[in-house]
Amino acid sequence: MKRKLTFALVISLIFVTLLSSCAPLATPTEATQAPTQAPTQVSSEETIPKEPIVIGVPSAFSGPIAYVGESYMMGYTLALEELGNEIAGYPIKLVTADNACNPDQAVTAVRKLVDVDNVDLILGSGCSSATLAVMPLLPEAEIAQITEGSTNPKIYDGSGVGGNIWQFRYVPDDRIMAEGFAPFIAAEVKSLSILAYNDDYGRGAAQSYQDILGGLGVEVVSTEYFERGGADFRPLLLNIKEDKPEGLLLVATESDGIVILRQLKELGLTQKLFARGAIVTPLFMEMTKKEPGLNEGIMEGTWWAPGLDPKFDVAFVNRWGTAPSPHRATSYFIMRYVVKAAIEEAAKTGTVDRKSIRDALEKISVETPVGVISFDAHHQAYPNMAVSTVENGTIKLLQVLETKAPTK
């Protein structure tokens, strides 16, 4: 009996502590009202500093793709530093929340950012599974989310006129990108194998290229999927070697790309290589310093390449001491141009809050090194994509392509 007593005591103690911890944390909710009035009161004054705008970054900071969250933060931080850590006179504060790329934790992370950190805008949530889990929360909390990396077509379909007016996406999905890059592949080879990540990004890309390449007269001989962090690709590569396609399209990022290309070289595959991910990037070159030539001659079509914004290329290396990559550049462009434009636009209304930022996102049209960025009816942006290749150990930008809404 005494046991039960203590048990009940412990339980109630926990709840009491929880309650008491709620109380002080609940007060900042009212604090969010402050910035909504502050600008109107002090719009002409510069003596009173404006309330900071808090931006939440839920992403994978742990788990197998933690480097994604780390990469995004590098870009955001650099962009903010260039902006003097303020936009339209508002100091900007970044808050991160780890979601480990897992839907459960993604929901927890966004709820925390919304309720406890009182963020005004969300830049996330990394993986598509996380973004999809978070999307239903946005209308309820009335907060906008700009997605930087999730390429699942379902996000396009469900956003803007698709129903969820709070969801925006910067990166074009693969239905969009394949239409730009496929003609380059068709110009070089008549048959192709596809080797792609076994996730929404890899499967989405493989499906898109299969559909479009068929129409361009390229026979897709085989499509194979593999897991991130996989080790032995030789069974796949041996089969591709046996199928003898003219080309091979690789949908992978740096870390797995290195291992695949190493084994591809070992097995003596001579296919013309194409990539859709992060193979022809300075970061890849940096990671393979000890085995140069691994990505020689590969042609890649992706949403960023060095040379698009030479100032960024230099600034990034100076700031972080490591090379940029598509992930690292995307987040930079989002903060440096898109978020900046949206907050400036919102500031015109006199109040910068969750709602005015969302409304502003629908209105903005901003000139950037990767083209004019604005969000269409499905809240999709269309930054340019780049086709580049590696010649004698240096990356050469072949062409910059404009992207447009998917035809289907």
Binding site: L5, S12, I14, L18, S21, F61, A100, D115, N152
Partner: protein
Amino acid sequence: MGKKLLLPLLVIILLGMPLIVRLPYFLHILILSAMYVAYALSYDISAGHLGSVSLAHPAFFGTGAYVTGILAPMFGTPFWANFLLAAALVMILAFIMAQPAFRLADISFAIVTLGLAVSLQLVAQNWVELTRGPMCINNIPAVSLFSKGSSVLLSSLQGYYYLFLLVNIVVIVIYRLVTTGRIGRTFTAIRNDEILSATQGINVLRYKQLAFLIGAALAGGVGSIWAHYMTVVCPDYLGLSYTLNLLIIVFIGGVTNYRGIIVTAVVLTIVPEVLRVAPSIRLILYGILLFLAIVLMPEGLAGLVDSVRRRLRKSTSELQSAAAENQSASDSNDATPFSE
């Protein structure tokens, strides 16, 4: 006397929570910890009470979630039907898995269940036509009592809080039913000495499988409700990270001690959110805690609390009455789990 007062108090506190806790974030954390309570208790039935440490438990939870994720959008069935169907199908799955697994003992059993769980996760990952693979199933409808579209109330966070409270009551009642009384005593006998139990005419294998199936079915049911709440089901649900979470909760809380497990599940869900420590630091701390718990106090934190109290009681003059009280209140969890 105290008990009479405290139980209603506890009920009032639990029922009143959503009225006080208004922030969705905190409600979500409460719901998450409620899910872990039910999930961990369902694991303890077989892993704790019978010592069959399976590493496949998330496979049951995940399969339950997938059953709902696939069927609910298709047929618009009410949540309780999904719950029952998920539990039933997962039980069948567990029965099939039990056939090879229970022919093995101890560590081999653990590793074969691990292999089965990995294989099931590969199915979820690669059978794209059925599970949508890594693209995940999304837009799972909110829970409804009768059919599609009815009962808006339950789809609010408050609604889900009460729903998970209800799920917990169901799980705790079933847990208590099977771990106390005649079946519970048999479980204890088997855990304490398998060979001796067998010589006394107990069908050890049948009881072990029974516990395994009940635990699996409960996990499947919890997974089903969780799918409704999350609206998304991904192959991650079947993954090893959930196994580690379960082991941490059950073994730090104290195997076979449902109070300890409940408290640990709630505390370990809430504490990292309050402290906001980096996940790797958190896991390092949990790892160390788990190691210390299993080495120094195999009965878990709850066992530690008990033994400290017993010692205190001994030092006071209450010794006699306490012993008597302890005797009468004792249930199956008095025996040292994993005694050697």
